[in-house]
């Protein structure tokens, strides 16, 4: 196994520490340096542990089968891109990946439209029963998915929506709504009243005010909801496992377990398949990591 690269703090970053500066100047400098070095070594070590599994999956996904099974090298000596072709065709990821993209795009658009409308009403319109609706939404967030998936399946069977794209998307939207409505509502609440009132005086309809004035103002909220829900929908597994029988309808997470049970693929092919299913998430995280990390921290503490 490789040693993690060590980052040593440049000496000019030395900070005078209250306790150690009391002693001999020279030894205390050395001590501060050692302490800082240990401090950053720990940070790097933990970063290494966090990244090691995905890095090893990516490296293994381009290795030849013999090389991987023999364990002769951790790094690929030749790049076997054919693994990806095999996973794409034989593993049927040519079907699973577009399916996942479709479910994610449609469900996120659905969530954005429905949640922003509901969030707007709850933030800006006074109406009888608003407190009841708010309470209902908060209460629903408490119902845990693992305890209700059997019943969701039963309802879908009753509605002839089991093993259909529509059924999966509708449940995904419904699952994402409570948190998204709360996020959108908190963005609408912060907007000034004046713009809205001016538009009403100009004769705009309520929907016009919402669509042309309020929605553009709440763009950061829409972005936060889109990123968090895209992550959630792409990674969803339990419902996909329960709802789908047809390979042609399955998203990548379901497809990945399907691939293992149906084909027992070689490890390097399976790693390529895993990489295919995770690459879109890595790209999303690289571009929107601030949105994601902040959204998660705020969403939980609110």
């Amino acid at each position: 196994m490789q040693q993690p690269p060590k980052i040593s703090a440049p000496p000019r970053a030395l900070r005078v520490d209250f306790h150690s500066s009391r002693g001999n100047q020279l030894t205390s400098k050395a001590r501060i340096f050692t302490r800082r070095f240990a401090f950053y070594a720990l940070l790097v070590l933990v970063a290494f542990v966090a990244l090691f599994p995905i890095v090893s999956v990516l490296l293994g996904s381009v290795q030849k089968a013999q090389e991987l099974y023999s364990g002769s090298s951790f790094f690929p000596t030749t790049f076997e891109w054919n693994n990806y072709v095999t996973a794409w065709n034989d593993g049927n990821f040519k079907t699973f990946l577009p399916n996942s993209l479709f479910y994610t795009v449609i469900a996120v658009i659905g969530i954005l439209i429905v949640a922003s409308m509901a969030g707007y009403a709850l933030a800006r319109i006074e109406f009888p029963g608003s407190k009841v609706v708010m309470f209902l939404i908060l209460a629903i967030m408490i119902i845990p998915a693992p305890a209700s998936f059997i019943a969701v399946y039963k309802v879908l069977v009753n509605m002839h929506l089991a093993n259909t794209r529509q059924g999966y998307i509708l449940v995904l939207i419904a699952e994402g709504l409570p948190l998204s409505i709360m996020i959108m509502r908190s963005f609408f609440v912060r907007q000034p009243k004046e713009l809205e009132e001016a538009a009403v005086l100009d004769g705009s309809s309520s929907f016009g005010v919402f669509w042309r004035i309020m929605l553009p103002l709440a763009r950061p909220g829409l972005a936060a909801v889109a990123v968090i829900e895209a992550l959630h929908v792409w990674n969803e597994y339990l419902l996909a496992l329960v709802i789908f029988n047809d390979d042609s309808l399955m998203p990548v997470q379901r497809g990945l377990t399907r691939f293992v049970s149906a084909e027992t693929p070689q490890t390097n092919i399976l790693l390529a398949a895993t990489a295919i299913s995770v690459l879109p998430i890595i790209v999303l995280y690289l571009f929107a990591q601030r949105n994601i990390t902040q959204g998660i921290a705020e969403g939980a503490v609110k």
């Binding site: 542990v49 364990g71 409308m117 509901a118 608003s130 209902l136 939207i173 597994y237």
Partner: protein, 309 residues
């Protein structure tokens, strides 16, 4: 889970006339209609349906679901595997709580203190949290594979062959291997919350304490720890809930095995329904399991309300 204080301050607003007021109310419900319909059909109806189904017998296909009274519950109460799966879930939650909590708090303090690269470390530490349960399962079934897994190869390479195990298939190691994967997967969540909490503590507190000559331990004990208390509570409960709900990762890593050593409630419910076709008793398990989860969530809401007030 989020809880916003219910509907801001009710502002006194003058309405031109009563009909207009009523029209605004109608409009509000038009805006809410899609959300209410979707939540009603796909969340509330299943909620009721689940409770009803727990008193019925259903094979998953037929339209006939006869009532069987408390039969499902009696079966579940005698199902030792279900109860041991509940115990496993508690073990995963507890390990995540203690070890994951300690790691995430420690690393949050370190990153908060780091003068350089703190944004980089923050981003990297949350990386495991963005993977799906299936991907995490796939990664670690490979890394922990007895023959070609990197862990055993590493142990062999440094001469510690004696420590090699068939990690996921030996009763003694399987539970702890899954727990370790759970900690690796989830600690970044607590880390983000702790880091946000630490950044909210005023720097002046520490400066004042340092002038008074307080030791690092005293600063932690009398400033950091009490100020973080609300965050610690939320992280603890959400981690515990995460441990109880664990499913996909276990399905991929061990499928509950060897034997039933790593069985967890959600997996048990899934098998009861989709392998044994006893949907009624699966629903009864869901009700019992769900009650536990709801109790924990309510406890969390109560705590966070109290600390906000």
């Amino acid at each position: 889970m989020a809880s916003t204080p219910i509907a801001g301050k009710a502002k006194p607003r003058s309405f031109a006339s009563k009909p207009r007021h009523r029209r605004r109310g109608l409009e509000a419900y038009l805006f809410l209609l899609p959300a209410l319909v979707l939540i009603g059909v796909f969340t509330l109806i299943p909620f009721v349906q689940g409770i009803v189904l727990s008193f019925q017998s259903w094979d998953g296909v037929s339209t006939d679901t006869p009532f069987v009274g408390l039969d499902n519950y009696l079966r579940v109460f005698q199902d030792n595997i279900f109860w041991s799966s509940m115990l496993n879930a508690v073990i995963f939650g507890a390990v995540g709580l203690v070890i994951g909590g300690a790691v995430s708090l420690g690393m949050a303090m370190a990153v908060n203190k780091a003068k350089r690269f703190s944004a980089f470390f923050r981003t990297v530490y949350y990386v495991p949290g963005v993977f799906s349960v299936v991907v995490v399962g796939m990664m670690f079934s490979w890394l922990l594979d007895p023959r070609i897994g990197i862990l055993n190869r590493f142990l062999g390479a440094i001469g510690l062959d004696a420590l090699q195990h068939n990690w996921l298939n030996e009763p003694d190691t399987a539970v702890w291997a899954v727990a370790a994967v759970f900690v690796w997967y989830h600690w970044g969540f607590g880390f983000l919350l702790f880091l946000a909490g630490l950044q909210d503590i005023p720097k002046e507190y520490y400066e004042a304490a340092e002038l008074d000559g307080a030791s690092p331990w005293a600063r932690f004990r009398y400033i950091t720890w009490p100020d973080l208390a609300p965050v610690t509570t939320i992280v603890s409960i959400l981690t515990l809930l995460g441990g109880l709900k664990i499913f996909g990762t276990v399905l991929v890593l061990t499928n509950g095995g060897p034997g039933y050593h790593t069985e967890v409630p959600t997996l048990r419910i899934y098998k009861e329904a989709f392998q044994f076709h006893r949907y009624g008793s699966a629903a009864a398990m869901s009700v019992i399991f769900g009650l536990g989860l709801v109790a924990l969530s309510l406890f969390q809401l109560w705590i966070s309300r109290r600390s906000n007030a």
